[in-house]
């Protein structure tokens, strides 16, 4: 398909702007003006509409098909959430920062405050900041809070511990805050190796970052012990909320002993992923960490009005322009209102039911390296299919031809040929049954006709792409017309 730049016709105009009602200003001196044209495309409005409509048809989303992408919680995005967010579209974020401006932003501030309250109750924490703009941003903010806490206490800390099954964002976020990383291997039972953990846990450890359930979809029965061991050494414990969908209403990280937690609103709370973002990564903390939270902070005054605290002496400062991805929060807020207490509990129950159902119906044909009850997702290995030279990627591409978005493959890195399936609670039994049937077909084809898998996908606008060429040539910008 042509690029939008290739469709450009010199002199063609699209959206028309309003006529000016003021006299033209004198030209700026030429030293300030651009001499090289922007060469943006020149198209009619219909050209633009056709182009992006055609592009959209080369994409699939949760609305198109089952999207069991492990670790990503691709649940249904309720349409009313979009309407809720749209209501806030025209509000300028600087309004409440103006002298006397808070009064003109009470609705927005109230929502932020209530959202913080909901998330604090859901995670069992004492206070929540909604400023972080995505999960990884929340992790970095959380580790900054931990660094500020240790600094204030005069603790000298150098390391952050992460299990090798963690998301790459965990070590990357801790490294952004200047910590050195200690990686702990996974034991044969599927959780962080406790002996290796004990050995690595010294007084110089600032934090331990845990994902629970972990990326194998397993709930770590030693999680409280890990928190206690860490606390005994003066380290704080960080909860990566990527897999919170599994334990909504069942377990609260705060009750277990976690000190800092981030939540991915775009996973657990049903806001759409937008082809890669925007997300939103609110961070909850225990009491001792409240003074370090980012500013501006929304606080409720004695007269029940909401105000912004911009000056907190121990705060880590701003981690983003304003108050976070407010529009995403509005959607998550709407989601929590609609589901309510019972609905949220039902989320984790049925997410776990769906994952275990898929696991039980596939484990005779696919290797299940950690064969135990899973939480919200299950991780298979295509190792049995490997004897026919069929890899996880071949199964993934075959699923595309069958109309599905594939599960996550090759993650977590600790499982060879990993196939990580997270069905989520919003999928029906017949959807799962149909998917299971295709997965079983793929396993059988691996033995009888492996080429059928290795040639896939055949139904897409392009076949498997040469990623090596892309990385070597680095054509990331179109230099043509």
């Amino acid at each position: 398909m042509e690029l939008i730049y290739e469709k450009s016709v010199a002199g063609r105009r699209g959206v028309r702007l309003p006529a000016s009602d003021v006299p033209p200003a004198a030209e700026l001196p030429s030293q300030y003006l651009r001499s090289v044209d922007t060469t943006l495309p020149e198209l009619s409005e219909l050209d633009v509409v056709r182009h992006f409509t055609q592009l959209s048809r080369r994409n699939i989303g949760v609305d198109s098909t089952f999207y069991p992408l492990g670790s990503c919680t691709m649940k249904y995005n309720a349409k009313a959430l979009e309407e809720a967010a749209r209501l806030f579209a025209p509000f300028h974020p600087v309004t409440p920062l103006l002298p006397g401006g808070e009064r003109h932003a009470q609705g927005g501030l109230a929502m932020l405050h209530q959202m913080g309250g909901f998330l604090a109750e859901i995670t069992g924490m004492d206070e929540v900041t909604c400023q972080p703009l995505a999960g990884a941003h929340g992790e970095m903010t959380g580790i900054m809070l931990i660094a500020a806490y240790h600094k204030a206490k005069g603790n000298r800390k150098k390391y952050v511990i992460v299990p090798d099954s963690s998301h790459g964002t965990n070590p990357a976020s801790a490294a952004m805050v200047g910590y050195e990383i200690i990686t702990i291997p996974t034991a044969p039972y599927g959780d962080m190796d406790l002996d290796a953990f004990r050995a690595a846990l010294t007084d110089e450890v600032a934090a331990v970052m845990m994902t629970c359930p972990n990326t194998l979809g397993l709930f770590n029965p030693h999680i409280k012990e890990i928190c206690d061991l860490a606390h005994a050494k003066g380290a704080l414990v960080y909860y990566d909320g990527a897999n919170l969908n599994a334990i909504l209403g069942q377990v609260r990280p705060g009750d277990v002993g976690f000190d800092v937690v981030h939540v991915n609103l775009h996973k657990t709370f049903g806001t759409p992923h937008g082809s890669g973002g925007p997300g939103s990564g609110p961070v909850g903390v225990k009491k001792e960490l409240i003074p370090f939270l980012p500013v501006p902070r929304v606080v409720k005054a004695a007269d029940n009005r909401f105000t912004l605290m911009t000056d907190a002496p121990q705060s880590i400062g701003r981690t983003a322009n304003y108050f976070g991805n407010f529009g995403v929060m509005a959607k998550a807020y709407a989601y929590i209102l609609m589901l309510g207490r019972e609905g949220l509990i039902e989320v984790s129950e049925l997410a776990v039911l769906n994952a275990n159902y898929v696991m039980s119906r596939l484990k005779d044909l696919y290797e299940l390296p950690y064969d135990q009850t899973c939480m919200h997702e299950c991780v298979f290995s295509a190792s049995r299919q490997l004897q026919h030279d069929v890899h996880a990627i071949d199964i993934a591409k075959f699923l595309i031809d069958k109309g599905y978005h594939p599960p996550t493959v090759y993650f977590p890195l600790i499982v060879r040929e990993a196939i990580m399936i997270e069905p989520t609670e919003t999928e029906s039994k017949e959807t799962l049954d149909a998917f299971i049937a295709v997965m079983r077909e793929a396993a059988l084809l691996a033995g009888t006709d492996p080429d059928a898998l290795k040639k896939a996908p055949l139904t897409t606008p392009v076949g498997r792409l040469d990623e090596t060429k892309a990385a070597r040539e680095q054509n990331v910008c179109y230099f043509g017309c």
Binding site: Y410, E467, T468, A471, R472
Partner: protein, 123 residues
């Protein structure tokens, strides 16, 4: 000229006090199509088994460790624009750096070809 191997799959060829370093064919095959070799800076000093430089394929990034201590005398600049040499000739044309060896005794901690082949069988 003697060639030694490390557990991290580097090879080192010793000529006098010059150590030429690269990665083994096994390592190149494991990484897949190499897309980038981050060469060390000339003049950089490294200790044995510390990170010397890095290498990337489409879906992996890997550190390359110095088989012996020394100072980087020269690097294989051809790899900058044609990293595919690593896939074509890992143990010949795709040498990465020449080190001025600090301590010839360090080769005692490395494997011979026969030992390395044995090591590969155990993986």
């Amino acid at each position: 000229m003697p060639v030694y191997y490390t557990k991290e799959h580097e090879w080192v060829k010793i000529e006098g006090n010059v150590a030429t370093v690269g990665i083994t064919e096994f390592a190149a095959h494991q990484l897949g199509d190499i897309t980038f070799v981050e060469l060390p800076k000339t003049g950089k000093s490294v200790k044995q088994f510390e990170v010397l430089c890095a290498i990337e394929s489409v879906k992996a990034a890997s550190d390359i460790y110095a088989p012996v201590s020394g100072k980087v005398m020269s690097v294989n600049e051809a790899l900058e624009n044609t990293p595919e040499i690593v896939n074509e000739s890992a143990e010949e044309a795709a040498w990465m750096a020449c080190l001025e060896m600090a301590d010839p005794a360090e080769v005692g901690k490395l494997m011979t070809r026969a030992q390395y082949d044995e090591y590969l069988k155990g993986l």
